[in-house]
């Protein structure tokens, strides 16, 4: 690796460290794990930088986020003995969430807290599409690349995730 390649890596990939850390935070739901995941993912990105064919900043971001995502899933499996994917049962989860958060409590927490909590409690496949779309404003195609699923899957996951959040907002604000 020549120093010019290091410079190119620092110019193309490192500007997206905030996006990388945000995604890792939402996937691991832990500051400590998220930092380790991002460091690990950055090193992997650097070692495979030769395979990065893109040129622009947006491509560099999607490329780094894909590596962060995979690293986070692997991390969860290795360090917590489960997978992000199976850690949540969608159906069971939504019932459990309803039990845990009676309407009155949600109202007391306010819309903001309820929403943050609801996102944290989404299954990881839903959580990541919300973060990538609403916070990072990636296109469906970019999200599909990061998550390694077809665009149609991105569309349906995003729709179901928002419906889930909509239910939480309804319960909190009683405005639906």
């Amino acid at each position: 690796m020549e120093s010019s390649e290091l410079e190119r890596f620092e110019a193309v990939v490192l500007p997206h460290l905030d996006a990388a850390y945000t995604l890792a935070r939402y996937l691991t739901r832990s500051d400590h794990d998220a930092q380790d995941v991002v460091q690990d993912a950055s090193l992997r990105a650097f070692r495979h930088f030769g395979t990065f064919r893109g040129a622009g900043s947006a491509e560099g971001r999607a490329w780094l986020l894909a590596i962060v995502r995979n690293t986070a899933y692997t991390w969860q499996r290795r360090h917590h003995g489960d997978t992000l994917t199976t850690a949540f049962d969608e159906e069971r989860h939504s019932e459990a969430a309803a039990d845990e958060h009676p309407e009155a409590a949600l109202v007391a927490q306010g819309e903001r807290a309820a929403l943050r909590r609801a996102i944290d409690e989404l299954p990881p496949e839903f959580r990541e599409v919300i973060v990538l779309r609403e916070l990072e404003e990636l296109s469906y195609k970019e999200i599909a690349e990061v998550a390694g699923v077809p665009v149609g899957t991105v569309m349906s996951r995003l729709s179901r995730a928002r419906r889930r959040l909509e239910e939480v907002l309804c319960a909190t604000t009683e405005d639906c």
Partner: protein, 252 residues
Amino acid sequence: MTHPAFEAQLDAYLDGELATPDAAELEQHLRACPDCSRLEQRRRAVSAAVREHVLRFPAPDTLRARVRSAVRADVKRRVQPRSYWSALAVAASLAVVAVGGWQAGLRHAASDALADQLLSSHVRSLMPGHLIDVQSSDQHTVKPWFNGKLDFSPPVYDFAGRGFPLIGGRLEYVGGRPVAALVYGRRQHLINVFLWPTEGGPTGGRPATTRQGYHLLHWTTPAYSYWVASDLGLPELRDFAALLQRGDSVAP
């Protein structure tokens, strides 16, 4: 437009990801359907609320520093000249392995085919009238019988004293050349010993393999390639093979 179809497309529409004709159709439906219009308003509100309330997490400075130093340490680690030429050497050795593997694969396939042939030969010899061309328990009868039929004179032993009496011999054609087949007995079991000169004959094969209930043992001496086939139990067959190997090593 049905409501489930509408909801599936609504998010794509709000994200500007719906193709123009689909978007036009959806807007037309929105104007006509108050329920769907309310749904659209709520879905927009969700998106807006997430963008407004949900946190981005800027990477802490400590993390930035960690990433930078990890990457730079990785550069230093790799600065040792692992250059073009060493990469070429690695590629070349990989190519050798690949070709070697390919050749080994071919040899493997060839020896498998050989084992198949010998097994067929063994099974066929067990059919009535096929076992032997020369029936004799006398090695001094069997050995000369091959004269003029083979271009080598196979070593023939009688292990009757060890419980493996010689029964006879026959000619076989294996791997593109005539070979000697010697038949020995063990109680009700028959043992075929196939052999041919190591040089100029088919080579290779696993030392031991079991197919269709028959065991095949194989070894090579400086002079001969041996294959032994039988339904005899493997331990006894190995004892027999050991006798043959010992006999061969003391043969003139």
